[in-house]
Amino acid sequence: MPVDSLVKITDINFAYDDRSILNGITMEIPRGKLIAIMGNSGCGKTTLLRLIGGQLKPTSGQLLVDGQSVPDMSHDELYAMRRRMGMLFQFGALFTDISVFDNVAYLMREHTDLPEEMIRDMVLMKLNAVGLRGAHNLMPSELSGGMARRVALARAIALDPMLIMYDEPFAGLDPISMGVIGQLIRKLNDALGATTLLVTHDVQEAMLIVDYVYFVSAGQIVAQGTPDEIRASDDPFVHQFVFGEADGPVHFHYPAEPFEQDLLRDSAHG
């Protein structure tokens, strides 16, 4: 791993009240790379993104973005940092009351004093990059799922961020859209010289584009490596996850007493 990391996470713990979500996560995200965090649903991946964005504070541990400690930032410092981050939310989270054009222009209007003509050129450029320049007059409700995701992507890169975070960019998309989004993520990362953090459970799609993978399960990192290392791995969890097996280290059954006991008790009630 190169020493120059944009995001450096050391032994992070996080809990909602007394429900533990993350236990001692340590990871580094080097500049310019495309890193994926994978894991099954509810393993704390989204929480990790929120911690990096400063929307949640870790219970303990150190979290550095560009050398600054995120949990210690003031409100203004946080906002200054977030201006250099782009984030794609799980279902896009487009503003439904304004058009595609205005969605992408939103951040430019909020955070800069650029003249409207310049904003127009920039917005059309971003929309062109995701192939939706022709759709700039549509409302979000008129878009298909894949198109909405691409608009959200254009919005996330509106201010040329240093760090782009994707929360489940493939969720609920058809295979063609998935491929399109995957290629876009890779292309945008390289074209903008940004660093990308991709949170997903879509192994096959992600493996094609990322540089390095972390596997998270039950709040802990259970495996990591480059896509080739992962494919060759004989770790049972990785094997189950990559090949989508129903049972393995992650059990099919929710923890319960033996079935016979449950049956017997029911008959006793009757």
């Binding site: 929307q55 977030r82 984030m87 799980q90 009351d97």
Partner: protein, 268 residues
């Protein structure tokens, strides 16, 4: 048996305590929310067109319901008032009755109730849905403060619209009373207007009505934006919030009306 009823009582007390606890917690959060709202208002006033947009949605779009209701309330007042007054041979006082009821009470109160169900509920729905679809989180993540950008303009839009709507309601209501009293029943027109002018005082009646509707506007708008912002981010959560906006607004309006009336018209 005794044990069972005992535990039921314990459960009841625990339930009451729990509700009290969450109620107080919400109240505390609402107070903190209100302060944040005021603090970030300056930021949102710098881009006043956001507030103008909300005046359009909550004020202008409520015009129809306010005008129609005001007209009908005024006409009903005209009919009922005439019915009662003519028994005492003082049907010329109809103008006074209609105008005083409207400017002091019915104008501000009924307009605020209509406003709460027309504009308040839609503000809650809008903010609640933005929360449920992660738009507020997305905004926050994009370094745009959702309170300054979404909440404050809606709040001030409501506060500005409310007194204007109440004044329109009263004015149209007086016209409705005039229509029934003078045009249809035939009360003397001169007496209708001059008695009204003689008894309705601008500062004590009209202006107090405006103050009332301003207070109602603050209360309803605050409840609406708070319920939206505090909504449980699911479809059921948002619909429960809308219901609470309408119920709490109505209660707040009537309770505040009592308090304000006892302050304003004490000793008169």
């Amino acid at each position: 048996m005794v044990e069972k009823s005992f535990s039921a009582v314990i459960a009841l007390i625990r339930g009451i305590g729990h509700r009290l606890n969450t109620g107080l917690q919400r109240l505390g959060f609402a107070a903190r929310f209100f302060v944040m709202l005021l603090v970030y208002s300056g930021q949102s006033f710098r881009r006043f067109h956001l507030t103008i947009r909300e005046i359009y949605f909550s004020g202008f779009q409520s015009l129809l319901i306010i005008l129609v209701s005001g007209l009908f309330i005024g006409m009903v007042l005209g009919m009922q008032g005439y019915e009662t007054l003519q028994r005492y041979g003082s049907s010329e006082a109809l103008g006074v009755l209609v105008a005083l009821s409207l400017t002091r009470e019915l104008g501000p109160v009924v307009a605020a109730l209509l406003f709460a169900s027309r504009a308040g509920s839609s503000i809650t729905a809008e903010i609640g849905l933005m929360k449920a679809t992660e738009q507020l989180t997305a905004m926050d993540m994009m370094a745009v403060n959702p309170i300054a950008r979404v909440v404050a303009p809606r709040f001030w839009g409501g506060v500005i619209s409310m007194p204007l709507l109440a004044a329109l309601f009263s004015a149209v209501g007086v016209f409705g009373g005039y229509l029934i009293g003078v045009v249809f029943i035939g009360v003397d027109e001169g007496a209708f207007w001059s008695q009204m002018q003689g008894s309705v005082d601008f500062r004590f009646d009209v202006w107090n009505g405006v103050v009332k509707s301003f207070v109602f506007g603050v209360a309803v708008s605050l409840i609406a934006v708070f319920e939206g912002y505090d909504a449980v981010p699911t479809a059921e959560g948002v619909s429960a919030s809308i219901k609470r906006t309408v119920v709490y607004s109505a209660l707040a309006i009537l309770a505040l009306d009592f308090v304000l009336t006892s302050f304003m018209f004490r000793g008169l």
